[in-house]
């Protein structure tokens, strides 16, 4: 049985008249077990492969190979399906017209599914909304599944449907299943794929080299199979009259949850966190309170993790008003670190957007700030990726020049990695 624990990192001391409380709450899961094997319903996996014409021979071959490797990593007994997507979505396996659109994995179904994948040919356009809609129908055809997870591979822009159609498909899938999305090549739009992955509680990344695809799919599937906790919610209670300024996941990646909450009761909101493996995630909670007099103490938030209606852990975020400036002036190191990391993600995305729009002055300022933040917060991955896009004259002050010739893939890699954070522990 999975166990959850939590720790709170904050400076709970507020100055006289202070109202804003910031805390990092770490939630730790141990003993998660394996997906579909913890008595909370079977797991379901769908592999979606882009088979549009633009995939070409090399990428198509790599994609087929990767899809087969993904199947190898699905535990026997897990419900699965394979979808081929272009301007329409096709159920490639199981080969059925009606009824249940997924089958349990075993040696025979794995072999049959691989054979179905081997017939994939690159042709047609791209309409990812239809792929998501088919996935939803397939999961629904089984019913009562616990973990529901999709690996989605694409190589191009969503040409064959309107942004509205894609948004509708995403909205319909929210809370139904999770999607890890990967883009191959440089003709896909990071913002478009990030929108899918963020809404559906998954990750996004670029696969620059097709030969890396199989290893990536294997890792994604293994991670998914290790998520023995199918669905957990972060619950945040705040006092009457208080206000949530923001709630973000800040590790392993930055995800703004502020507007994703659904009310549990008048004072408690529930934020979906998807499935959990044995892992730690950090959340940054910022709450505004009415100031109390010096010496008073109150709770600013109860931060809980719930599976269904069951509360599994609770962290207390506190506020204590004090006249001692030695106490109130300190900024908690975890809060400072993640505030920097969240800003880093933002300035990278804004800098790249400005660069794409031809606004070199803004791009230079934003990416310079990014270099400074990545250095300050010890984010070596971001620093390395920034280096491929800008020439750094002084990392400490954030003085940079945009590089003249930048590989598109490097820019996209910087963009997709922008939300990944590093951790610190004092």
């Amino acid at each position: 049985m999975a166990e959850f624990t939590s720790s709170v990192f904050q400076n709970e001391f507020l100055p006289d008249g202070g109202t804003d409380v910031n805390a990092i709450v770490t939630i730790r899961c141990t003993g998660a077990g394996e997906a579909g094997r913890t008595g909370r319903g079977d797991a379901g996996e769908i592999v979606v492969v882009d088979t549009s014409g633009s995939m070409g021979v090399t990428n198509m071959q790599a994609a087929k190979q990767a899809a087969m490797v993904a199947l190898d990593n699905i535990l026997d007994g897990t419900f699965f399906a394979v979808v081929a997507g272009n301007h329409k979505a096709y159920l490639a396996y199981p080969i059925v017209q009606t009824g249940a659109g997924m089958v349990r994995m075993d040696a025979a179904t794995r072999t049959e599914a691989k054979r179905a994948i081997s017939y994939f040919r690159a042709e047609g356009g791209t309409a990812m909304g239809t792929w998501l809609n088919l996935c939803r129908s397939l999961f629904d055809s089984i019913g009562n599944l616990g973990n529901k997870h999709v690996i989605l591979l694409t190589d191009g822009e969503n040409h064959n449907e309107t942004p509205t159609q894609l948004d509708q498909a995403i909205r319909a899938a929210v809370g139904q299943f999770q999607v890890d999305a990967r883009g191959i090549g440089v003709d896909w739009k990071v913002a478009e794929i990030r929108k899918i992955a963020q809404a559906l509680l998954g990750s996004v990344d670029i696969i620059g080299d097709p030969s890396r695809l199989s290893a990536e799919f294997a890792a994604l599937m293994r991670n998914s199979m290790a998520r023995g906790v199918a669905n957990a919610d972060l619950r945040v209670w705040i006092p009457q009259g208080a206000q949530v300024m923001f709630i973000r996941q800040v590790s392993p990646s930055v995800e703004d949850l502020t507007h994703r909450g659904v009310p549990v009761n008048q004072l408690t909101m529930s934020y979906p966190t998807g499935a959990w493996a044995d892992e730690e995630r950090d959340y940054h909670i910022a709450v505004r309170l009415a100031a109390k007099t010096v010496g008073q103490e109150q709770l600013a938030a109860r931060v809980q993790l719930a599976v269904g209606a069951e509360l599994l852990t609770q962290g207390l975020v506190k506020a204590k008003w004090s006249a001692d400036t030695n106490l109130t002036a300190q900024i908690n190191p975890e809060v400072a670190h993640y505030t920097g990391q969240a800003e880093l993600a933002q300035v990278i995305q804004e800098g790249l957007a400005a660069k794409a729009a031809g606004d070199e002055a803004t791009a230079t300022t934003k990416l310079g700030r990014a270099v400074q933040l990545a250095t300050e917060t010890g984010n070596a991955e971001a620093t390395a990726k920034l280096r491929k896009v800008v020439d750094i004259s002084d990392a400490r002050t954030g003085t940079v020049r945009l590089r003249k010739a930048v590989d598109k893939a490097d820019e996209m890699a910087l963009d997709t990695a922008s939300t990944k954070t590093t951790r610190i522990r004092g």
């Binding site: 720790s7 549990v264 009761n265 103490e297 209606a309 852990t313 207390l316 106490l327």
Partner: protein, 374 residues
């Protein structure tokens, strides 16, 4: 307190009985605010947010929020407004007899209650101990409580024996009480602590028409008799040093760092022998042992006497409550502790006058000063 004693909560929507730990009503499915943590939920230890180690359990016994009337959660905070319910450590009262009582309170400005109170009474004998933990030291709240209780237990054991102990034995017991209180404070100091827990010590013992008292630091013992009050203890503080250097008391107590104490209990204490004194009761009155959280607002015996008179009660519990409330009204800048014994006069017993003399011989210069006042 067990769950059985409490009425079963009901769903606000449909009125069905619900579990106190439920988040949803089993009957109508309506949302509930749990007032108890689920059983065996594996809630984590104290979050890593505090500056120091805490007492084992801080959860309050209160079920209704003093601020908004909402339910108090198992975590000790109101489920509606988040106000911290006073913990058992933040405010408590002891009343071992109808003539002995005390209240120990966090006050307004300090985040923790580092004062401690320990009382004992049996027949016409009583022990009143208070310790005031020094707030710049680590864990002094835990240490102060342990120190006060250790001293109280030793003296109670001494006074609980049959027969009348000789006055010098009682004075010796007070010195021993300071030593055991110190041992308890040291035992409750984290080994590697760079800032060892420390506390003041003030004690008064009542037996057979006599009062014995002792102190280390600036917690005080007063006797407020019907014919006049006096301060029995002598502060071990910079203010007192100024006074002894010729400065008027009012001026000395207003000096910067006047509250710095020159003697204390704790690992780094250098002098653990308290100043001891005693006197025979010749008039009814109040015996008062208190921390500076109270006497900051009423240092002179007449001022303290005036506050007690304003309460207009002979009930020590009520007087203690009111004195603490009054000190809070003055600002509550420090933890506030007051222990009171309502004493009757006992006719003078000529046989005991020898021990009176011997006790006064041991007593401080101030005790002689007091004798002059008297």
């Amino acid at each position: 307190m067990t769950a059985i004693d409490q009425p079963l909560p009901t769903c606000p929507a449909c009125g069905s009985p619900v579990s106190a730990s439920a988040s949803f009503c089993e009957v109508c499915g309506g949302p509930l605010t749990p007032t108890q943590a689920p059983v065996a939920s594996g809630l984590p230890a104290e979050p890593i947010s505090g500056q120091t180690r805490r007492l084992g359990s801080r959860a309050s016994q209160a079920t209704e929020c003093a601020s908004c009337g909402g339910p108090v959660g198992a975590d000790g905070y109101c489920q509606l407004c988040g106000t911290k319910a006073p913990s058992a450590r933040d405010h408590y009262r002891q009343s071992p007899a109808d003539w002995v009582a005390g209240v120990c309170d966090r006050g307004r400005a300090h985040p923790r209650n580092e004062d401690a109170l320990a009382l004992w009474a049996q027949d016409d004998r009583a022990v009143l101990v208070i310790c005031d933990g020094v707030s710049t030291s680590t864990d002094s709240d835990v240490a102060a409580q342990a120190g006060a209780e250790a001293a109280r237990d030793l003296l109670a054991e001494h006074l609980g024996r049959p027969g009348v102990p000789a006055a010098e034995d009682v004075d010796q017991a007070l010195v021993e009480a300071a030593a055991v209180a110190n041992a308890a404070v040291v035992a409750n100091t984290a080994e590697g602590s760079a800032n060892a827990a420390s506390a003041t010590f003030a004690v008064a013992v009542v037996l057979d028409g006599r009062v014995h008292f002792a102190n280390l630091g600036d917690s005080r013992v007063y006797f407020l008799g019907e014919q006049g009050g006096r301060l029995l203890s002598v502060d071990d503080s910079l203010a007192q040093a100024f006074i002894e250097g010729g400065m008027p008391r009012e001026e000395a107590e207003a000096m910067p760092r006047s509250h710095a104490i020159t003697k204390w209990l704790g690992r780094d204490a250098t002098d653990l022998v308290p100043r001891v004194g005693s006197f025979r009761l010749d008039q009814p009155g109040w015996l008062v042992v208190c921390s500076d959280g109270l006497w900051n607002y009423a240092s002179a015996p007449e001022q303290l006497d005036a506050q007690i008179a304003a309460v207009g009660s002979d009930d020590p519990a009520m007087v203690a409550d009111r004195l603490v409330a009054w000190a809070n009204d003055q600002g509550g800048r420090d933890n506030i502790t007051v222990a009171l014994a309502r004493l009757r006069a006992v006719p003078a017993d000529p046989e005991q006058s020898h021990s009176l003399d011997s006790a006064e011989a041991q007593a401080s210069t101030t005790e002689q000063e007091h004798a002059e006042h008297g």
